[in-house]
């Protein structure tokens, strides 16, 4: 596809009652890049992710995802309120009604964007393999009849799904834990399983919310390698939120810095490192004080 940017966020605004979590956030993510969204706690990073993935309906702005060969407006697939003009144009009316009835965040994932969560959300009572099988729900043979009769086509589809499961378990180094309950895994393993689960939906862009939080240095190192594998071997664009500056500067091609719901800087790692506004936001220092990250 010719489109250079996989994700375009324009003037994104998100208010919760009186709380203005995001004011006018604009950035683009290049296809095939590893980008990072950074900023102090409460800056609104997770909120950006939740808007991108359709869990929050943005108060205003535009989010366009160009993946799977088409452009998807994320605001639209969540189901917008009816406009007066809809009642004069049946096509517009039914278009909107369709998304109102069947729309939602799942369509964002189907359009090619998947995510992990800051507070790990695995299916704790299900086994590791089952977690990854659920993620392939949209890719397997879902016909009730062939499933109940256990037809050849169904068996083949399930076998392929299992092969993908074990491929991804290999990538995240969890093959030995395949038949354990997800809730029994260690914290680091759970983080990795969540990434594998996100990848099992075959996304073009994956959003990782603080993947290194709570990991020790060697685990973080392994994670960095894994993220590179995602980009280099699977052509997946990666967007991550991270507080570990070493890791961020190490792997990111592009960094967006958020503070109090506004983008205060964007650019390559070197630009960001020396940007006085960023330093001030992180350290609460005066803008003219010299601080190095």
């Amino acid at each position: 596809m010719s489109q250079e940017n996989i994700l375009k966020v324009e003037n994104l605004v998100m208010h919760f009652g009186g709380i203005k979590a995001l004011n006018d956030v604009t950035f683009d993510i290049k296809r095939g890049s590893v980008s990072a969204l950074i900023g102090p706690n409460g800056a609104g990073k997770t909120t950006v992710f939740n808007c991108l993935t359709g869990f929050y309906k943005a108060t205003g702005g535009k989010i366009v995802l160009s993946a799977a060969g088409k452009e998807t407006s994320i605001i639209k697939v969540l189901g917008e309120p009816f406009q007066v003009s809809d009642f004069f144009s049946p096509i517009a009316f039914f278009g909107r009604l369709k998304y109102k009835m069947f729309g939602g965040s799942h369509l964002v994932n189907r359009a090619g964007l998947s995510r992990t969560f800051q507070n790990i959300r695995l299916f704790k009572e299900m086994s590791v393999v089952e977690n990854l099988l659920v993620a392939q729900h949209m890719r397997v043979n879902r016909s009730l009849i062939s499933g109940i009769l256990n037809t050849k086509a169904y068996q083949k589809s399930e076998e392929e799904a299992l092969e993908r499961v074990f491929y991804w378990l290999g990538v995240v180094d969890l093959v030995d834990s395949a038949n354990r309950l997800a809730g029994e895994l260690s914290y680091g393993q759970q983080r990795r399983l969540e990434i594998a689960r996100a990848m099992c939906t075959n996304p073009e862009i994956v959003c990782l919310d603080e993947p290194a939080a709570g990991l020790n240095p060697s685990e973080t190192e392994a994670l960095t390698k894994m993220i590179r594998v995602l980009r280099d071997e699977h052509n997946t664009t990666v967007l991550l939120i991270e507080h570990d500056m070493g890791m961020v500067m190490d792997i990111s091609d592009y960094i967006v810095v958020l503070d109090h719901g506004e983008v205060i800087a964007k650019g390559g790692p070197d630009d960001i490192k020396n940007n006085p506004k960023v330093i001030a936001a992180y350290l609460g220092a005066e803008e003219d004080e010299e601080v190095t990250l």
Partner: protein
Amino acid sequence: MSQSVGINFKKSSIDALVAGFLALILFGPIVGVLLDGYGFSAEFGRVAWMVAIVVVGRFVMSCFFQTEKGVAMAFRYANNDEGATVLSPNHKSKMVWIIPLVILVGLLVPFVASKYVLTVVILGLIYVLLGLGLNIVVGLAGLLDLGFVGFYAIGAYGLALGYENLGLGFWSMLPIAALLAAFAGAILGFPVLRMHGDYLAIVTLGFGEIIRLILTNWASFTHGPNGVSAPLPTLFGLEFKRRSKDGETFHEFFNLPYDSAYKYMFIYLILFAVVWAVLFIKHRLVKMPIGRAWEALREDEVACRSLGLNHVLVKLSAFMLGASTGGLAGVFFATYQGFVNPSSFTFFESALILAIVVLGGMGSTLGVVIAAFCLTVLPEMLREFAEYRVLMFGILMVVMMIWKPRGIVRVTRTGFAARKGAVK
């Protein structure tokens, strides 16, 4: 006596006294003063008994939870995460032996059992069906459906009214009733299932009650509280009545003396087959993508949505399948009774089915089957205690939720053998 050194009897006594005092306040009026017209008669004996039981019980409990064993037990309840067990990939289920045996015994039942036993077993099987249906909804998908009896009623009245108005018999109504119930489930579920789970509980509760109200009040169609008679199943056109207006009867055809037990045998055999079919389908479903999606949804709806699952449709599929099983059960109930009226479809019925699912263990098929028989057959046998039934169900639900929220039968999960990974 060295173990009991740690027990603080003074504390236990105070606990017991406080509990006794509260029991006196609670039971005093309701149990102690028996209303009789506008007057009353005093029943202090009952109160004394109940307060005594509470005091002793609280004292024993308080002491027990101070012993080592009790402390360990309290700890286990507080951290109630005895999860499911994942079976090893090459696990061989003993069911391979048990199932043929059960089928064999089951097929013999109608020929050896008395008519009374047969009717009780039929009732048990009907509740197995109901339990399996609700188990999909509550146990697998985690949706609390308190109006399950509504779908049961749709099945039962479907047969009775379909026969009366359209001349449809048992065999045509069996699938139609399942579809009808599923359709009703879809209409009710679609708007409600996108909301917060608790609302579903209350809306379904209302739904069950509304169905009953309509059945009672719409007398011109449903004959109100008087009820409607329902047809018996036929065997290739042979009827199981004493004599038939427009066809041959079973006993005439085979030159047998008339015996009302034949019809129960026949109903039993059909029901037995249907229960096994449902058991098989459910066994397949839990291993299929849809079954995995149900359980995933029960675990974490947000995560499911982030993986591209349409949570409303996934829930709706569970809700509809559960409803259609309820509809099937209703058809059997109607034909077995030969007659339906609204009083069979009260909230207590929904509560009984829920109790079956709770006792059997959310999601466990075997547990549900055992629990269905326990909760329907036991009260039949212990008729003296019949009026305590609902109380028992209530206590059972509270105690099970505190003690073993996952039911008596441990849930197991399939293991998968490792294989070479590949992405295509």
